[in-house]
Structures are given as C-alpha cells and as structure tokens.
Symmetry: C4
Subunit: 193 residues, 4 copies
C-alpha cells in the first residue's frame, strides 16, 4: 500500500506540470499567461510534497492495516488526484473567486480524508502505539480544515485572502514535518508501547 | 511482475484524471459540464481500486509464475489500460447509450481477463494452495461477468439501468475485498497445503 | 537501474493509451476512427510487453554493471520512449506507408539498442556467465533487426506487408520469452559458471 | 525518498515525449516540424539521465537524512519538473533566443538545487564520509552553473552558442558519471571514515 500510494503521489505531482501549456509565441511576454498557472503549480507542488512526506512517515509507522484503512487511503488518493484539475482551473483563471474557492474545497476534502485515514490507522494499531505518541494532540491536523473553511469563505470577500489562508496552512506544515520521525526515533532507541 | 503491475495500475488510476478537462470559464456553472466526467471518473477510480487490491493480494499469495501467467497478467493490464478511454467517452457524452455499453464491454473484458489470470495462477500453484482455499467457490468472480453482460444489454432498454448494473458489481466487491487476506493469515498461523 | 527501467517501461506502456483520443460523437460509428489507433496500440503494447519481460529477466541475471551498461540502458529507454509517438502517427494515418516505415525505424533502433545493451552486459559479466548460456546463439536477437529492415523496405511495396513483418517479429518473441528463466533455474540448482 | 525521487524522474523523462505532437499529415515532410522538438527532447533526456544517475548514487551513499535534505530534494524535483515545459517551448520555437535562454535558466536552477541538496547531505553525514571523499573538489558541480550562466548570456549573442554551452555541460558529465561509484567501492573494500 505504501509503494502504491507513493507511486500515485509521484505521478500526481509530475502530471500537474502537463497543465503548464507551452505558449504559442517565443517572446518573454508570451510567458505572462504562464505565471499564474506556475504560481498555482508551485503551491500545489508544496502541498503534495507535504502530504507525501507525512503520509510516507505515517505508513512507515504502521505495521497493521485492514480493509477500512485501505479504502480510506484510496479515498485520500482520490482527492489528491483532483489537485491537477483544481490547480489548473485556478491558475488559468488568474485566481478568480470561484476556481479559488473550488480549489479550497479540494484542499479541505483532502485534509479531512487524511484525518480519517490517520484515525483509522490509530484505531487499527490500538492504544499506546508509537504513532499515537508521535502525533500527540495533532493541533495542525485539527486546525487545517478550519483554516481551509475560513479560506473558502474569505474568497467571497477577496479571493487573495482565500489564497492566503491556503498558503498559511502550507507554511504551518512546512516547519514541523519531522514531528513523527523524532518521536519514533526515541521509541526505537528506548521503550516501545 | 507484482511491482510492474502495481506501477501500471497506479499510473492508470492517475492519468484518468487528465481527461477531466479544465473548463474555459471561471463560473460555477462552467463546472456543470465537468460533473458527468467526474461521476464516471469516480466509478472507474473505485473499480480500479478494487482491481489493484485483489490483484495485489493474489500476486502476494503467488510464489510461482510462468510465461502463461505473465502474459495473462499483461492481458489484464491491457484491458485496464482502456479504462481512461472508456471512462472519458462515457462521461463526456453524459452516459449516453453507446458509450455506456462500450464501457461495459471494457469492464466485462477486464473481468474475464482477471478470471483467466486467476485460473492460470491456481494451475501454476497446483491443487491445495492457500490461494485456492482463500478464493473458494469464487461466487463474485463468476457473478461479475454475468451482471456486466446484463448491464450491457440493459443499456439498450435504459442507459441508467446499465450503469446501475456496473455500480452493483463495484459495491459487491467493495465489501469482501479482505476475503483472501484472512484465509492466508489462518494458513500462515497453522497448516499450509 | 532495474527499478528505474521498469518504471519507465510501465509509464510508456500506459501513456500510449493517451493517444487514443476520445471521439466527439456518441455513436458506434464514431468509434470507426479509433480502430486503427487501437490496432497500432495493441501491437505496441505487445512489443513493449516483450521488451519489459526480456529486459527484466536480463537485468535480474546481471549482478555487475558499469557506466557503459547504464548508458546503453538509457539509450534503449530513449528509443522505447518514441513508441507512443510512432504508434499514434501510424494509427491516426491508418497505417499509411511513411508512418508505417518510420514506426519500423523506431522498432529497428530499439532492437539494435537492446542488442548493444545485451552485448555490454555480457562483456561486464565476463565469459561463462549464466546469462551467456541462457542467451545462447541468440538467433532471435540477430533475426529481429533483419526482419525489421525487410519490413521497412516492404512498406514501399505494400504498407500491409511491412506491418506484417513487424507482427512476425512480435509473434517470434511471444513464444520463447521464457528462454532465460529455465536456463537460470538450472544453474541456480546446480553448477554456476 | 530514493524510490519517490526515482519515480518522479522516471515519470518526467517519459512524459516529456508527450510534447512530441503527432503531425497532421502522413508524409515525411510532415516530420520536419518534429525535428527541433525531437532535438531538444534528446538533450533533455540525456541531462535528466545524468541527474538520475548522479542523484541515485548520491542517495545510495546517504544513510542519514533530515527535513532540510528532504525539502532540498523536493526543490530539485520541482526544477526538474519544469524540463518538459522548457524543452517543448524551446523545441517548438526552433531554439529561438528567449525560449533557449529560459531553458538555460531552468538548467541553472536545477544545477544549483542539486548543489544545495549535495551540500545539505554532506552536512547531515558529517565530515569524513565516503560520499565526501567520492565527490572530492567537485569541479564539475561548481563549473556547471558558471557555464549555464555563460550559455544564457550567449543566447543574446547567438542562440546556437547558448545551446552549445548547455551541450558542453552535458558532455562534461557524461564521461565521469562513475566518479562516486569507484570511490565507494574502494571504501567498501577497505577503510571507512
């Protein structure tokens, strides 16, 4: 499951670039139409990078899966697979209100799908697992959907505010993506639940 | 063979999303044309997810292959590779009769190809294998092609009835996709044929 | 190198299907334009399947590589990567003379690249290797380029004759794709060079 | 991380070929428009092949990573993911000045990203590592960005001169891509820092 998921995520992060359509002319000004798509591509690249990293560490720390975990994982991959679509629609329309809100809905759905997957894995592992200690109170996991919802609503005030909310979530995750690793290293060295 | 197949299936399930063409406008109403394609994409995503899961477990339980098994596997991958085409044609034409029937033919061919592959693997493993016991009477494997044929014929009555038949097969498989695993766990704990 | 090559081949065999353009209409007659592309897709699928199989077995039997082998491998992957282009051009033009001849040139180049790779691997392994015994006189490896050249020339007489030559090579390889495996099994059981 | 990176690079090197648009006509003259795109594709194929090779060996020699290394790796993959875009834009415009200069900027950014990744890995491994000895003074790693900058500036004199500079860097790397391997073999045989 880990390899299949890694494969799907590697393909997703790469085929997004196919939406970067080659401009017709050969002047620097012809690149102007590309910038917004490139900008939304960079944001999605970072977000999928964060998902790959967290997801990979979570599955590494998971030695027991069941049917529910498996389908929760495919459910997450489904929402991630809509990133190329959402990214391109938002970028090609220069971050207009509706595409930016729809992009936020995809982000929100993926965040919820991740949370569901994590909850099912923790349940499959049982209480006292190393993963459970590593995740802890999971403040970020709980904050992310809230900020996404705020971002979606903010697009109706100003679409740049909505986009800013999505960027805030990405930045929030960029810093502590090592949160699982150290905790697991500690337990690997010493006691194990 | 297992890794190559997993790779092909991961790529298939992902490139299907490339058929979700980004709409020209930036209004919510511009998404209306996308819904049917998204709907057929969800159905194909679930069906390929089921294939990946069953196929992965079957190959895991297979420690002996030969040339016939190898080509039966490629034969299955060939029909699965037609899913993006069938999915997009059906979705873009709002589940019209002919594309829905053709989609059913692809589903039927894949189901038969899976059955052939399974039969050849069981023959290569010889009688009394753990996989044989896990598969048992294979009621679903035998029912699926029958329901698909019924679905293809039903599209000529009403295309939604045909689609409903395909959905029934997907739901039927969603429930017991763990059927191989538990049986194998039992044999791993205790006796092995 | 084995995994990277398997990955590239898995992607190639899958993205070829993206050239199967979804027809505009929803009638069975709209599929008529798809048939030749589907036909050329089937041929390329089988040929790439043969390459994957032979290549995979060859690398499995290779425990020593060097820079020359590595670049010979990338050289083979380069020619294989032109299959989607050649396949689509031939199919969309209903096997017209020039695209069919160009397709043959790609087949020929891939066959030569495979032969070069095999020769460099045998040289790296040194004389008396299991792979050397398994390959033997390599009649097919030597015949294939000859038949491809004949096929390319035959397209100028009749393009169907050229296509027939390519099909003959594919059929020739379909039968003994297990030639390496049994020989290796023998050496694994008993003596090793 | 190694497998994910290999997967992304395998996908990149393959999807670049999707930019080789199938010509409308079926005459040899219809291929004329394809030649420049094919030419730029060959160059990018070789460059990505070099990256894959060096990157793969570097990660193999890396037994310790941290968050900074992980994101430096994704940063490199990001710039590599812009190769299909840059390659197609340059090829479709017959190596015109601006697209050729922009292609050079992507090459430069990838070279810098590789250097940053290498520096962070060396720091994570600590002084005296086998990788450090294998890389040595890293003349090529330091020369590449300089030649790329020269190439970008040269496109404003003559775009073929700029292209020639990029080809020089590729040729420079083609020869010693085994530089890490032998040094590691030596240390594996004997002393290890």
């Amino acid at each position: 499951m880990e390899m299949f998921s890694d494969g799907v995520i590697a393909i997703l992060i790469t085929i997004m670039v196919l939406e970067l359509k080659v401009p017709a002319g050969d002047h620097l000004s012809d690149l102007h139409r590309v910038w917004p798509v490139l900008g939304s591509y960079v944001l999605s690249f970072v977000i999928i990078g964060i998902y790959w990293n967290n997801h990979h560490h979570m599955l590494r720390a998971t030695d027991r899966i069941n049917g529910a975990v498996l389908w929760a994982n495919l459910h997450l991959l489904f929402w991630l697979s809509l990133f190329p679509f959402g990214t391109a629609w938002m970028g090609e329309n220069h971050f207009a209100r509706t595409p930016t809100a729809v992009y936020g809905v995809v982000l929100l759905a993926a965040a919820i799908a991740y949370y569901v997957l994590q909850t099912l894995i923790l349940r499959a592992l049982g209480p006292g697992s190393a993963l459970e200690r590593a995740i802890g109170s999971d403040l970020k996991g709980k904050l992310s959907p809230v900020i996404y919802i705020a971002g979606i609503l903010l697009t109706f005030v100003n679409h740049w505010l909505g986009l800013a909310a999505y960027v805030v979530v990405a930045l929030m995750w960029l810093i502590p993506d090592r949160r699982i690793e150290p905790a697991l290293l500690v337990t690997a060295d010493g006691r194990r639940g």
